[in-house]
Symmetry: C2
Subunit: 156 residues, 2 copies
C-alpha cells in the first residue's frame, strides 16, 4: 500500500502544476462502459464505429473527466480535497491507444480554502482533447494517507 | 442485445425530460476507483472514512458525472450525440446505498444542432447532489442502434 501526502491550502501557490500520463487501453473503455452504463457502439463496436465520422472507436468523454478527478484527488491538492465543481469542454475525440497527459495548474486561491485549478488534457500529438477547470476545497492541513490497494477488476 | 432509438435535433423541444434511477453499490465504487485510478481511502476504507467529516465512505463525485454522461448518450438525445461540454457542481456527498435520480431537461436549442441540457441529480431524500448542464451536438437524423452487450466485469 502506497502513501500519499497532500498539499494543503497554505502550501498551494498560483501557477503550481502537476501532470500525469495515461494510455487509453481496451480495458479502460470496457470498464468505463460497465461503470457508467454507457454501452454505445461507437465505444464498443469497431465495425459500427468505422462508419461514424470518427472512423474508429473512441473513448467515453467522461473517462477523461474521471482521470482529471483522480489527478485532483491523488496529486494536486491530493487526499482530503473536496470536489466542488468541474467544467469540461471536449475539444477532440480520444481514441484507443492514445496517450493522454492530464495537466493541472493552480489558477486562483479563493477565500475559505477554495481553489480554482485548470484541468487540461492533451494527446500524444500535443493536441488538446479536454479543456476546463475545477473548483475544490483544499485540505486545511498536511496529511499523509495510506492508499488502499487498487481494486482488482477482471473484464471477461 | 437491445436497440435504442435516438431523438434527433428536430424532434427535441425545450422542456423535454428524461430520468433514470441508479442505486450506488459497493461494486460501483470499486469499479470507479479502478477505472479512474482514484483509490483514496475516503472511498475504499470504511475505518478511515468514519473519521472524516462525511462519517462514512462516499462515492467518487465524478461517478455521478459518468451516470449523467450515460443518460445523455443512451437516452436524451441518445446514440449519435456528440458531447461538447459539461458543467458540474457537487452540492452534497453521495453515500453507498444512496439511490440517485438523474434528471435531464432540454434547456435551449442552439444553431447547428447544438443543445443545452440541464443535468440534475437527486438522492432518495429528494436532495440535490449534483447540479449542472451539458452542451451537446444532437444527432441530425433519427437512428435505431443495436447496443453491444454490456462488458462483463468482475471485482475480485
Amino acid at each position: 500500500m502506497s502513501q500519499v501526502t497532500n498539499i494543503p491550502y497554505e502550501a498551494l501557490s498560483v501557477g503550481q502544476q502537476a501532470a500525469f500520463e495515461k494510455t487509453v487501453e481496451e480495458r479502460d473503455v470496457q470498464l468505463f462502459a460497465a461503470v457508467s452504463g454507457d454501452n454505445n457502439p461507437v465505444h464498443l463496436d469497431a465495425a459500427f464505429a468505422a462508419e461514424t465520422l470518427f472512423k474508429e472507436r473512441i473513448a467515453h468523454g467522461m473517462f477523461t473527466g474521471a482521470l482529471i478527478s483522480a489527478a485532483i484527488a491523488c496529486r494536486l491538492p491530493g487526499p482530503g480535497t473536496i470536489y466542488l465543481g468541474q467544467q469540461l469542454k471536449f475539444t477532440r475525440p480520444v481514441k484507443l491507444g492514445d496517450t493522454l497527459t492530464v495537466k493541472l495548474e493552480v489558477l486562483e486561491k479563493l477565500p475559505k480554502n477554495r481553489v480554482r485549478i485548470a484541468t487540461r488534457v492533451f494527446n500524444q500529438d500535443g493536441k488538446q482533447v479536454v479543456d476546463g477547470e475545477a473548483e475544490v476545497l483544499a485540505p486545511s492541513t498536511e496529511q499523509t494517507v495510506t492508499m488502499p490497494p487498487m481494486p482488482q477488476v477482471t473484464v471477461n
